[in-house]
């Protein structure tokens, strides 16, 4: 039986009572898009496997669940959240904790960091930088047959706003710790906007954690504008649990001579789908999409990437790797689209997975649409076991089989990690991956809350 009509009814109820409920006091800049977005959501629905982009991903496990709380903050818990220390700690970063998609001090104004970078809630941004928000909000997100993006536009009430004005360079990474923590089962939605103006630089580390054992689902939409000659890096570390679902849609829009890289490291999560869209809108821009996931039990991890070459002389790479054990499943859907005028495009894509059990599975689907003629495009996908020859080589030096396998898996994973631009972070993530591979990483590791 189709689980979706009931879910859609529930969401429609929320929609109809929005003004007294979760959207009370929401700024007009966001509200004006909501009605159309909601009807778009109703038209597109919750994606199922008939949708090409979700061909290997069944959302029922997360979307079919009846949550107690939808899209609204749980204020009492903020004190708890402040106590949390993410695994990736002791880094020289500027740090902020978000709880269930909301900023602890949501309604205060934006904060300005040294160097002139602004950070705060979307609500505050609409008050403080109305024309800037108006210029960028909902301009890069694309629905393209995915109802979950308009669902977010319609019903997300807040999220994170980051703004690097022209030529501002904030050398420290900004770390956002996204916590899911409550005594109720929650479906959360956050809507984020990051603006990196011409010549500015920003690097962002987002850590997603679920620190209490409830059922969670998050549907996140993040729009990123990267101006001329600007530089933007985002690294996501996802460490949630088997009853949590995490859906992200990240739209990175790049102008000429800009650089962007996205790195999704999925260590844990019941159902995770990261969609990363890169639009190369001006000449001579460069973009990189990396992903690494480690999945076991019944987890499902999907990565969807679309690189849109809309201007000539741009370079893009996609490198995704996964290790799957037990009954885990994974999917990679990588699209490269080269527009007619995008001559001298270089686009590279690779997806490699290692399957550790007979019951794990991985599906990959590259899609190339090329309308220019002077283009270098390559793509490759492998799904296989650990290399027997390499395994023997390590063992022949006295390393036991179990450790040798671990070293090979780690080496395989490191190929993605090595692209993380911040060295201290690279080391921390190397460590996390190693712990995860050894089965030593739990969501409670080095958490200050100690909820159980």
């Amino acid at each position: 039986m189709d689980y979706r009509p009931e879910v859609i009814n529930r969401l429609t109820e929320l929609w109809e009572t929005r003004d007294e409920g979760l959207l009370k006091g929401s700024p007009d800049i966001y509200n004006r898009y909501r009605a159309e977005a909601f009807s778009e959501f109703l038209r597109l629905g919750i994606p199922d496997r008939k949708n090409e982009a979700y061909k290997y991903t069944n959302l029922e496990k997360s979307f079919g669940y009846k949550y107690e709380k939808y899209f609204s903050p749980v204020p009492g818990d903020f004190r708890e959240a402040e106590k949390f220390h993410c695994e990736v700690q002791d880094l020289d970063v500027w740090n902020m904790v978000l709880l269930n998609g909301f900023l602890p001090k949501g309604d205060e104004g934006l904060a300005m960091l040294p160097g002139g970078l602004w950070v705060g809630s979307m609500k505050a941004a609409a008050r403080q930088f109305p024309s800037l928000v108006e210029k960028h909000y909902n301009k890069y997100a694309q629905n393209e047959n995915d109802g979950l993006v308009p669902l977010n536009t319609a019903l997300a009430s807040d999220g994170l706003f980051l703004y690097a004005p022209k030529n501002t360079v904030y050398t420290k990474p900004i770390q956002i710790v996204n916590l899911l923590h409550s005594t109720q089962d929650i479906f959360a939605q956050d809507r984020n906007l990051l603006v990196v103006e011409d010549g500015a630089q920003m690097s962002l580390l987002v850590c997603d954690h679920a620190i209490s054992p409830q059922h969670y689902l998050t549907n996140t939409v993040t729009e990123v504008y990267v101006g001329r000659n600007a530089r933007f890096e985002i690294i996501r570390v996802q460490n949630q649990h088997n009853d949590s679902g995490k859906i992200t849609h990240t739209f990175i829009h790049q102008e000429r001579d800009s650089f962007a890289s996205s790195n999704n490291i999925t260590l844990h999560g019941g159902l995770v789908r990261n969609a990363t869209w890169h639009r190369l809108n001006g000449e001579n821009a460069e973009t990189h999409s990396y992903g690494l996931f480690l999945a076991d039990k019944h987890q499902h991890i999907a990565n969807f990437v679309k690189v849109d070459h809309a201007a000539p002389n741009c370079n893009s790479t996609q490198l995704f790797k996964g290790v799957l054990d037990d009954n885990a499943s994974g999917a990679f859907n990588g699209r490269i689209m080269v527009h007619k005028d995008a001559q001298k495009t270089n686009a590279f894509q690779s997806s490699n997975s290692i399957i550790m059990s007979d019951t794990a599975r991985m599906d990959t689907k590259p899609q190339l649409e090329i309308y220019a003629d002077d283009v270098k495009c390559s793509h490759g996908a492998t799904v296989g076991q650990l290399d027997e020859n390499a395994l023997f080589y390590l063992r022949s030096r006295g390393i036991d089989a179990k450790e040798a396998k671990l070293m090979l898996m780690f080496g395989f994973a490191h190929d993605v990690i090595k692209n993380i631009p911040i060295e201290a972070l690279r080391e921390r993530i190397d460590n996390l991956v190693l712990q995860r591979l050894r089965g030593e990483l739990s969501r409670c590791a080095s958490c200050a809350i100690q909820c159980n």
């Binding site: 023997f392 080589y393 063992r395 022949s396 030096r397 070293m407 090979l408 780690f410 080496g411 190929d415």
Partner: protein, 265 residues
Amino acid sequence: MQTEFLIQIKDLKASIDNKEILKGLSLEVKPGEIHAIMGPNGSGKSTLANVLTGREIATVTAGTVTFEGKNLLEMSPEERAREGIFLSFQYPIEIPGVSMVNFMKTAINEQRKHRGLEPLSASEFLRQMREKKELVEIDSALTNRSVNEGFSGGEKKKNEIFQMAMLEPRLALLDETDSGLDIDALRIVANGVNKIRRPDTSVIVITHYQRLLDYIVPDFVHVLYDGRIVKSGGPELALKLEERGYDWIRKEAEVSEETWTTDRK
């Protein structure tokens, strides 16, 4: 009582995909001896090295291998390595993402654990790395990279001998370590082997060329032909092979089907 042989291979038969490759091979090596094995392509030299190190490409169907009195064939590859067997691969494997440093540290500490020793301290490990690098004149840039990744053919061979220096085996099997080396590198690597060797280290050198044996001077030279050792002699046998090729061996072998063994007993 200790047996006088370090390794004793008796009537060893092994097949790959039901095709017999080693057809009754016997060889005995005493501590400190150097044995060279020569023989035409495809005669089974690397297969012998694989069987001795426990690579499961070939299946042993008959015969015994005793290493320091223990049944070698029962041991896993890692146990054999910890017991002191080392293979310098004919085709070293590239392992992207696994750093040389981590690889060597793990290998050494596993070996030490096997011997009941504490792990090496970081500084002692680095000291050994430095010292052994100098021995085979391997570039530091190489040991800072992933195992063999992007190494040239010659660099890979040097790296094998570097690992031998780090692990200090009881028995080293050098499978065509000379191939791919330029003239200077050959001298460096061969002298490296001589420096690494302790008086009781044994070496089995598999090679096609006399050149290597000018440096690593063998006590015995054996000809492996069609899965058997069909002729054994001293260093002069290698010179004769260099001069005359394998044709005369082939003729002799076809004349008599009997198994040749070392004639020193």
